[in-house]
């Protein structure tokens, strides 16, 4: 069973995503912030990380660079309520970028593709 780590400071999002993804057959673990995130990844070895960009205590884009430094092979899907972060160069380091929505079909599709090793081409500079 593939293990997915959801990193989001909104509990309701962690619950919603968690339930839906468990129904899809994934094992789900969660983190409410970036505190101890690298240790958690090292310990629990998730197959994929879903990472919120705008969290109260942490910038998801900075956490993404940390993940890439130590675990460059783990697929990371950036999630945000805003599409504007797509314009931030740092988001290039993610496998996918998904705008948060109550309909999780796009997220589920991206998870499937990322776990199969398919990543889209690197977005261009501008």
């Amino acid at each position: 069973m593939k293990k997915i780590l959801i990193v989001d400071d909104e509990e309701v999002i962690r619950m919603l995503y968690g339930e839906e993804l468990e129904e899809e057959g994934y094992e789900v673990i969660t983190a409410g912030s970036g505190h101890g995130l690298m240790e958690m990844i090292e310990r629990d070895k998730p197959d994929l990380v879903i990472l919120d960009i705008k969290m109260a205590e942490h910038d998801g884009l900075d956490l993404l660079q940390e993940i890439r430094k130590d675990f460059y092979n783990i697929p990371v899907i950036l999630c945000s309520a805003y599409s504007s972060f797509k314009g931030d160069l740092k988001s290039i380091a993610a496998d996918y970028y998904v705008v948060k929505s109550a309909d999780l079909s796009e997220l589920k599709q991206k998870i499937k593709m990322a776990l199969e090793g398919q990543t889209p081409p690197q977005p261009s500079l501008k």
Binding site: K69, Y72, N73, P75, L89, A93, G117, Q122, S124, L125
Partner: protein, 403 residues
Amino acid sequence: MPIEENPHGVQAADLIVGIPSYNEASLIAYPTQKASEGLIKYFGTKNSVIINCDNHSTDGTRETFMNTRTEVPKIYLSTPAGIRGKGNNFKNLFEKSCDLGAQAILVVDADLKSITPRWIKNLGEPLFEDFGFVAPLYVRHKYDGTITNNIAYPMTRCIYGRRVRQPIGGDFGFSGELAEVYLRQEDWTPAVSEFGIDIWMTTTAMCHGTPICQSYMGRPKVHKPKDPGESLGPMFLQVVGTIFDMMIKHADFWKEVRWSKPTAIFGFGLGEMEMPPPVDVNIARLYDKFQAGFADWESLWKDILSANLFEKLSEVRALPLGGFEFPANLWAEILIDFAVAYRNRINEKGTLMEGLIPLYFGRTCSFVTESEPMTIQQAEELIEEQCEVFETSKPYLLNKWSE
């Protein structure tokens, strides 16, 4: 033994900026000044030094460098007279870095016209945050860096699974630890001693498991660009030869890699970008050189290439310049066939590489033609599409390599 001038008696340094050169007297003062400004502004608490690693230039490069006013001390380091090669300069730099106990080393080209102090910050800071290798990320004109766009980037990405957009960008950062790794390598070929050094450093970092990031420089790379049809020179042979040599050396590593992964990004976030100056390319000359290649190399191509590839190549040959197209998948598989022939030593390596040049001109002609009406962004997307094609060719590579 390198020749050294160390007027300040520098015996230790945390951070080094190295500037490799050969006859760059007219341009080296500018990057030297900007490096000093960057070191003072962003790394004021560090013990820094700027080192010009030179090939015993005869145009006054040493004098210009040493006479450039900087707050940071400088060292001049040179190969003996008659010894050339960017890689030889870097080897001297690696040794000096280890002697000085440096934690971080940055290298910037001596002909850079657009470097700012912030380049020093962006190349250097990740090295103090546990990254071991920093590659540059900048906007370049769509016709600048054709070896990068059509060979080094897609090949590296396809083979090693790492997306490093400028694997031979020339402006890098690396840790002192990685400098020691570089010195321990035993594959110091003549090509690595020259222009093969950049791809060798990037590939070695990838295969050594070094944490890698790309750092956004904020300004386009403006240097002495070259028309690829006019002045390809030995650079092509050394870069592509080193790519093939590294494929042989690291085959066990890359055979396990399937798709590429993104790389960490350091530097600016949102913001407007400055566009690079235009680069002129003579499309007709590229086309003519591709066509002329058949006279000299047709029999070699027949020997090396799979029959269906040679057939497709013959179809491309028949296209007029007006409707010329050299498809990316054909190009990817040709490079793979050449890499396998290189490994199998079907021909003398130098001859083989010479035989690849007209095909490279053909692919470059096609890329330039296709991207002519495009913006830089659209051309970037075209390069990304080409990378996907290369990645899709990985099974072909694995198959051919195991034959």
